[in-house]
Symmetry: C2
């Protein structure tokens, strides 16, 4: 396998990167909810932590019944067990990235994992 | 620990989310290279896969001596062993997200890990 893989996802409504990039430590999806719409179900996870980042627009997420307003630049961690549903605003769409990783899977990182030449 | 955590990182030059969000499966950094600048070193990793996403602007990355041009919407996987260095364009800055995860740590995902209510 090549030491890198690359894809451009700028113009798609939803893109899942795991297979396109041959990811082995995460699934990453790019999502675009038009104004007034939502992900059509509530979900939780068995073992994956999810990290969400709002790339543009605004909306909200309901987590275990609590409503959190969202706008560009917001990043959230959501524990596997939490029940979540994302909504775009009534008057603005929302683009966001969702990163699924196995909870407690990270060991070293940055200074303890990088090798600087 | 709460079932979620949230932070806004819109206006910062570099932000590391691991500690701010109590992440357990990834380290995520938001990065902003001004035009004409680069990450000041070449690096690789011991065991972490890195996934990079270009949020705005343009630039390039050199991976094991190969130059790949980058623009908004580009996403890359880079294997731990690959030697990499990121550069903004001479005439445009580049904002990107970097996601570190342990290689081969993901088990189920999406349909095999989600629980739909």
């Amino acid at each position: 396998m090549s030491n890198f893989s690359k894809v451009n996802v700028l113009d798609d409504a939803r893109v899942e990167l795991h297979d396109q990039l041959s990811l082995t430590g995460a699934e990453i999806s790019m999502n675009h909810l038009p104004a007034g719409t939502s992900v059509p179900f509530v979900h939780s996870h068995k073992q994956n932590e999810e990290i969400y980042g709002v790339l543009s627009g605004k909306g909200k997420v309901v987590i275990d019944g609590e409503t959190i307003l969202l706008s560009e630049g917001d990043w959230l961690r959501i524990a596997p067990v939490a029940k979540r549903q994302f909504f775009a605003s009534d008057d603005a769409s929302m683009r966001f990235v969702c990163i699924q990783v196995k909870e407690n899977s990270l060991e070293g990182y940055t200074m303890t994992d990088a090798v600087v030449e």
